[in-house]
Symmetry: C2
Subunit: 198 residues, 2 copies
Amino acid sequence: MAFQQKVIEIQLPDWMDTFINRYPSNISSIEDRMSFVIEASKINVSNGAGGPFAAAIFESDSGKLVSLGVNLVISEGLSFLHAELVAFALAQKKVGAYDLGGENLPAHELVSSTEPCAMCLGAIVWSGVRRVITGANDYDARKIGFDEGPKIIDWRSELEKRGISVICDVKQQEAAKVLLDYFLQGGKIYNARESGEN
Amino acid sequence: MAFQQKVIEIQLPDWMDTFINRYPSNISSIEDRMSFVIEASKINVSNGAGGPFAAAIFESDSGKLVSLGVNLVISEGLSFLHAELVAFALAQKKVGAYDLGGENLPAHELVSSTEPCAMCLGAIVWSGVRRVITGANDYDARKIGFDEGPKIIDWRSELEKRGISVICDVKQQEAAKVLLDYFLQGGKIYNARESGEN
């Protein structure tokens, strides 16, 4: 008998393609890119796949959408399936490169409904994106009980040092409202130490 | 036409099951657990799937092997497929829980051939492991050109604060030799900013 699986399969929710098709293929302003991502985070909650988080990869200049990820921790049973990692995987598979910042590729950016946690911060660096745009902030996430993990306080400078520009608080109130609504509806707050802090 | 994939598939290398079957199902000492992981990191290099890194999940008390992960960044084309994340995914799928530290589960630990990078440090917290054991250290990884990312300097305390104990430098010289050999053989150092620092 095989000791462990030879293939790890990650299923994306069925609604995503239909949702994406409602939008133009290119979204020009960063506010509109964020609205798209915030809408997806809301649907992820009603769909029950995971936390109230969504993230997308765009080509920065053209605004062409490359991928949309949502948090799949609960539906797929994997702790690292934060929206950002799902978006990176889909974009890297589509582009055919594990480095979205490679030569001969247009500059890519991550648009995320909430600031990155400690893990996603590290993953941003490996992904090759050149810009990060966030909606709700650390405080908004922590307020409803999500731990952001062992994250460097001045994380923006750490990214900027590595040539990745950062724009925070884009449609922050709208994004924060999705988090709060999730909490008020009794949504699961799934930190690692479930039996402890929560 | 579908906008993006509905399933992300991650293929594990063929040699893993045969390799695992050469070992007993339970490995009692942490040194022997590390030797197992270091051997896997060597095979990953000759197999060409990714960097010279391997990581395994064990039940801490019994030493029962739960999963073995290796770095698959190159073969699978995904930047976040570090050995630790692959090991977490396989263990969480096997156990049927995204929190390896959940109630009714034995305590799990991560044994990794090299200290965690910034991303894996965050992922450790979400995984639910209660103990982390590392071989080669940060310095050994950086010496051959691997960037560890925006990682908190006192990362051990950050884990310990969260109830995760840490044992470093287990068979460090043996583990560091695998990194050095990889470098001397001209192995690919695949940081995000390929066109920049490397």
